[in-house]
């Protein structure tokens, strides 16, 4: 599994994990992220049970997993959190931050509810360490009905969950978007199908545009850097969401 340091300053670090050549091909490709500050860390969307061994091994090269004090789940999907119970047995002090609407659903992954901190709809600050606070930013209906992202204003990194996600081919080995125009083909179908609400998108863009973002880090696909962040927001703002399938044209099997 590849590990890419995105930011490093005075013990404050962002690392992206992904593009594992050993990943079984029956599971969707995912990126996992960790933000570290001193001896504490938070992992974001740590992934499914199938890739847990690879992810924990990759993370443990950077710090002892006992240092992971927070696990953030952007939403409830299995590729985000089905490994949760394995993580909680490893990170005994870690709290799980998830959108409040999903807490009773996520417990089905085998997680003690007392370790969960429900994130309210409006978002909340999360302490990664005494010297680092990040922000859970609301992104409801993008795609999940209860959905948050993470913004680190010091590192100017925005973890965007499924927003900006791309279904890249197996030979796509880079961690970053190198040619935005070419990259559109990998993300257009995903956003049309998985993102249901133009209105939610507009609100989110309005919320995010004023933020200073050097990197926009999705859970699938490649990371947007520099001007590509703005390009992505422009492209996303005009896309017709929820349009991959025309509901009227879908004939039920029984019909």
């Amino acid at each position: 599994m590849k590990a890419e340091t995105l930011y490093e300053h005075n013990g404050h670090q962002w690392i992206a994990f992904g593009r594992d050549p050993e990943k079984p091909n029956f599971v969707i490709d995912t990126n996992e992220y960790m933000v570290m500050s001193g001896a504490s860390a938070m992992i974001m969307d740590p992934g499914g049970v199938e890739i847990f061994p690879e992810v924990i091994t990759a993370i443990s090269k950077f710090m002892p997993v006992s240092g992971i004090k927070a696990i953030f789940g952007s939403h409830q999907d299995p590729d985000i959190l089905s490994s949760l119970s394995l993580w909680l047995d490893m990170c005994r002090d870690a709290k799980v931050y998830v959108p409040w609407v999903w807490t009773d659903f996520i417990t089905h992954f085998g997680c003690d509810k007392s370790r969960m901190i429900p994130i309210p709809d409006e978002g909340m600050p999360i302490d990664v360490s005494p010297s680092l606070k990040v922000e859970a930013i609301p992104a409801h209906y993008l795609h999940s009905s209860g959905n948050h992202h993470i913004y680190d204003s010091q590192a100017r990194i925005y973890f965007s969950g499924d927003v900006g996600a791309a279904l890249v081919p197996p030979d796509f080995t880079g961690m970053f978007v190198e040619d935005f125009d070419k990259h559109i083909r990998y993300m257009e179908g995903f956003h049309r199908r998985w993102m249901p609400s133009n209105r939610a998108r507009d609100v989110w863009i309005e919320r995010v545009r004023p933020l200073k973002i050097d990197m926009l880090c999705p859970q699938h696909g490649a990371i947007f850097t520099g001007k590509d962040v703005e390009r992505f927001l422009d492209w996303f703002s005009t896309l017709e969401l929820g349009s991959a399938v025309e509901p009227k044209e879908v004939k039920p099997h029984a019909a």
């Binding site: 049970v49 847990f52 061994p53 690879e54 924990i56 091994t57 443990s60 090269k61 710090m63 002892p64 997993v65 006992s66 490994s83 119970s85 394995l86 047995d89 490893m90 085998g110």
Partner: protein, 217 residues
Amino acid sequence: MSKIAYQKLLDEAMGINTEIARLPVISEDIMLISYNAEAAAARAGDQGRSLHVLTAEIHQLADVISESVHYMTDQVMHYTRNMAKITNNHNRQHSYARARALMGDTGEADGMTHSLVDGNIEVIVATNRELLGSVPHFLATLEKNVEEIRRRIKLGEIISTNVSIEVASMMTGAQEVKVFKLLAEKLLTACKEMRGIVELCDKRLTNIHTTLRTVAL
């Protein structure tokens, strides 16, 4: 123990569950037979007096079978839940073991993470050992219940025969005789059906024993 063995233990228990799920319908049928027999005995007047006793026995038979089924269902449910836990733990153990192997290969993970993974594997192995330790008790209880049902089936068959004998000596009208004969036949059919179910449960219990013996070797 291999994943296949765990799966086999779980599958057999679920199979028993499916089999015994058919029993409540039969015990309800027997209960219905007892109500009809009661009504027919009342219609037969004095001559039906001896049938009242047999009717009460049929009623009791239905009650006892229903109670045993209830108890068995709880037992199997408990066992199935344990086997599901064991299978899940086994998968977790597999994940940790794979992580440990990967960490061992790279040699870059810290000792604390290594020992946490090892500790979790130890806890899982101990938990599974304890859960598996409860299997013989479950088997013994279930076998006792199956035996109880088998005894009740035998009793049902005897009652059915007794009803036929009583009816043969009855001087009452042809209609009552016909009803009692039919009820005796129905009771016998219900007993036969239950016998089939019990045999299937027996087979599955034997399979569980065999799987446990195989993995113990």
